[in-house]
């Protein structure tokens, strides 16, 4: 018998015949969390992610690239990693180089340029799939065009979020989008820049991931 069979046999001997009823997670959320208007969700999202030390800029479809440019210039950053072939990546590729910001793209497997990614990529731009108001959380689903390390390695991570994609809760996001039918290789919740309180409970930002998280919040006006 293998370790697997022995473990399962032991558990099967003692597992209860009748499992308890399936807990009703949905009704807990229905009674304990309210459904807010889009404006309130955006406000709540912003409040919590700012508490977690992220910087939020309200932008519109026409001006977000200008804000992106200002954010980079204010930090003296002249190089941005973008996702080619995505609408936001292509907008950045059009708008930034004429203004003196070089755009690099993630066009080959990381093995070919790991050290450049780690040492010569000061900032990145990705989109968020959605967000969660309750906790001030971005939902990212990295993919072929926008791979996983883009939102992790560069010290400054800039995220474009459409305010109409903000859910009330994590529960609402996963049920509305039926995540149980299949998740991508990696799905992420990000709720601020990387941080640690491991030295004498003193909060420090930029432990291993981005030191700064900047959200460009796309709304109707602004």
């Amino acid at each position: 018998m293998s370790a697997r069979d022995r473990i399962l046999a032991r558990l099967n001997r003692s597992a209860p015949q009748q499992p308890p009823a399936l807990p009703d997670v949905g009704s807990w959320y229905a009674t304990h969390r309210s459904s807010e208007t889009p404006a309130d969700k955006a406000r709540r999202f912003r409040h919590y992610i700012e508490l977690a030390h992220a910087e939020v800029h309200a932008v519109s479809r026409n001006n977000w690239a200008d804000t992106l440019h200002q954010v980079l210039k204010a930090r003296g950053i002249d190089r941005l990693l973008v996702a080619e072939g995505t609408p936001h990546g292509d907008t950045a590729l059009d708008a930034l180089p004429p203004r003196g910001i070089e755009c690099s793209v993630y066009d080959m497997a990381i093995e070919a340029w790991k050290s450049e990614m780690f040492t010569a990529t000061p900032a990145s731009l990705t989109a968020a799939r959605a967000a969660i108001a309750e906790t001030g959380t971005l939902i990212l689903w990295p993919n072929e065009k926008e791979p996983r390390l883009m939102s992790l390695v560069p010290p400054v991570h800039i995220v474009l979020l459409d305010a109409s994609n903000i859910y009330n809760t994590f529960f609402e996001a996963m049920t509305a989008e039926a995540w149980n039918n299949g998740l991508p290789t990696n799905a992420l919740l990000v709720s601020g820049p990387s941080k640690t309180a491991d030295i004498q409970q003193t909060l420090a930002y930029g432990a291993h991931g981005p030191k700064e998280l900047i959200v460009l919040l796309l709304g109707e006006k602004a």
């Binding site: 308890p20 997670v25 996963m174 990696n186 640690t196 432990a207």
Partner: protein, 478 residues
């Protein structure tokens, strides 16, 4: 294995280690301060007692539902992970788990592993096994990195370096990290750790992590963290190995949000952690990063023993938030190292006996005033005090056939049992009770004036010269 290798040692020496901490005002102050901080942060996250209580009820129901279906769910998890391309391994003991992990590493000819925070990897002492096999096993969680540099063990399951002051860490970095000047600026210290570890994330061939929740229906491994080192370990190296206890499983993805909320709010008083990382497959064709191989090691190590008993099974509801230790008056005074087990504090006292046997842990079950704080804050409502009483009776009752636990009766003493039997006899018979209490009131002065630990800070125990019944009789007459 280096001569500095520090093993977890179970209960032997528990009293001496506890006394050493109690006698050290600096350590006591730092634990007191840290626990006060964590308790107030947790309290601030639960302003509404009704919400807290109903969420705890839901958390308890979710954990009990999933434990009830554990064997089925493990098979479903295995099937779905396998379908997603993640390889599943099973280990009954720490040795088996280490052999599996080293086998994977050596199969790749690899020598460098970076580790995200994983208490299960501490439980199997993976770092020692790796070191013995010539593999570098580097901790990358800042707290774990600090205790590893100091050749120590974590003293708290959430905040591993909670026993160290920033000055100690400053000296440690200055001595152990090449080219680092002394600084006790926390931001500067974190930058030093960041720079060292960023190089390691690039170079390591293997990334190791724990698992907070494994979702059976989707075949997903979920990791909770703030630093980003967990994401690094599970994304940058070519191979990711995750290890978890067999109990950390939920059937449905929708079981995750309430447990995640309970976990981060109870643990560090955050409404959510900075990162929640859900991994469902290795790198797919066309994807440009992420590990080519993902493995999951499922470890039993005594958990199936706890599972076999309906009451003891509740131990497995634990989501490892650490709130029970933050609120424990014993933990706050003696710190994490005194216990000598991987998991300290109340959760350590109820789970370690299944991993190490009651013979090694009988003393731990008595290190509680049964004040009940742990059970009151536990986000999944584990009745920790009841379990402690149960474990005491398993440890100290006379050995019998078919015990529920390894090491049952290990603390048994015939003398003490005889004394309790005599006590019970006296309390069952009114005549005997009258006679004995009369003798006590007459000969109480014969009690020794030094009564062991009791009299180090208290008056000696002596029966009153007049029994309560006699005093009442006199008062009624008057």
């Amino acid at each position: 294995m280096s001569e500095h290798t520090l093993h977890f040692k179970p209960a032997e020496g528990f009293r001496a280690r506890s006394k050493a901490v109690v006698d050290n005002p600096f350590l006591r102050q730092s634990f007191r301060g840290a626990m006060d901080f964590l308790m107030s942060k947790r309290a601030a996250q639960f302003p509404d007692p009704e919400e807290l209580e109903s969420l705890r009820n839901l958390g308890e129901a979710i954990r009990q539902y999933n434990l009830a279906k554990l064997p089925d769910l493990l098979e479903r998890l295995e099937a779905n992970l396998t379908r997603n391309g993640i390889k599943v391994h099973w280990a009954e003991t720490p040795d088996e788990a280490n052999a599996i992990i080293l086998g994977i590493i050596q199969g790749h000819g690899a020598t460098r592993m970076v580790k995200g925070k994983s208490m299960v990897s501490e439980e199997i002492e993976l770092n020692h096994a790796a070191e013995a096999a010539g593999i570098e096993a580097l901790e990358s969680d800042m707290g774990e990195y600090i205790v590893q540099l100091a050749n120590e063990k974590p003293s708290h399951i959430i905040m591993p370096a909670i026993h160290k002051t920033k000055e100690e860490i400053a000296r440690l970095f200055h001595e152990k990290v090449p080219g680092v000047d002394y600084t006790d600026n926390v931001d500067a210290l974190i930058q030093i750790g960041r720079n060292v570890l960023r190089r390691k994330f690039q170079e390591a061939e293997i990334g190791l992590s724990g698992v907070n929740f494994a979702v059976a229906e989707t075949g997903t491994l979920c990791l909770v963290e703030n630093e980003g080192n967990g994401r690094m370990c599970t994304t940058a190296p070519a191979v990711h190995i995750a290890i978890t206890g067999i109990e950390k499983i939920v059937e449905k993805l929708e079981h995750v949000p309430p447990l995640l909320s309970l976990l981060t709010r109870s643990a560090t008083g955050q409404n959510i952690s900075t990162y929640f990382n859900m991994i469902s497959s290795p790198r797919k064709p066309g994807e440009k990063d992420g590990p080519e191989e993902v493995h999951l090691v499922l470890l039993d190590n005594g958990r199936s023993q706890a599972y076999a008993d309906e009451q003891l099974r509740k131990t497995l509801q634990c989501i490892r938030c650490g709130a029970c230790m933050n609120h424990c008056p014993v933990y706050t005074r003696i710190g994490g190292h005194a216990y000598g087990t991987t998991y300290p504090g109340p959760i350590g006292k109820i789970v370690s006996p299944h991993m190490l046997g009651l013979d090694a842990t009988a003393g731990l079950t008595t290190a509680s005033s049964l004040c009940g704080a742990c059970g009151e804050v536990c986000p999944v409502k584990i009745p920790i005090p009841d379990l402690l009483i149960r474990l005491r009776s398993e440890a100290f009752s006379a050995p019998h056939a078919n015990p529920a636990m390894r090491g049952q009766g290990a603390g048994h003493s015939s003398l003490i049992s005889a004394i309790w039997r005599g006590w019970a006899l006296v309390y069952r018979s009114p005549a005997l009770y009258r006679a004995v209490s009369w003798l006590g009131s007459r000969f109480g002065w014969l009690m020794p004036s030094r009564q062991g630990a009791w009299t180090t800070v208290r008056e000696p125990l002596r029966p009153a010269p007049k029994r309560l019944r006699d005093q009442l009789k006199e008062r009624n007459k008057a």
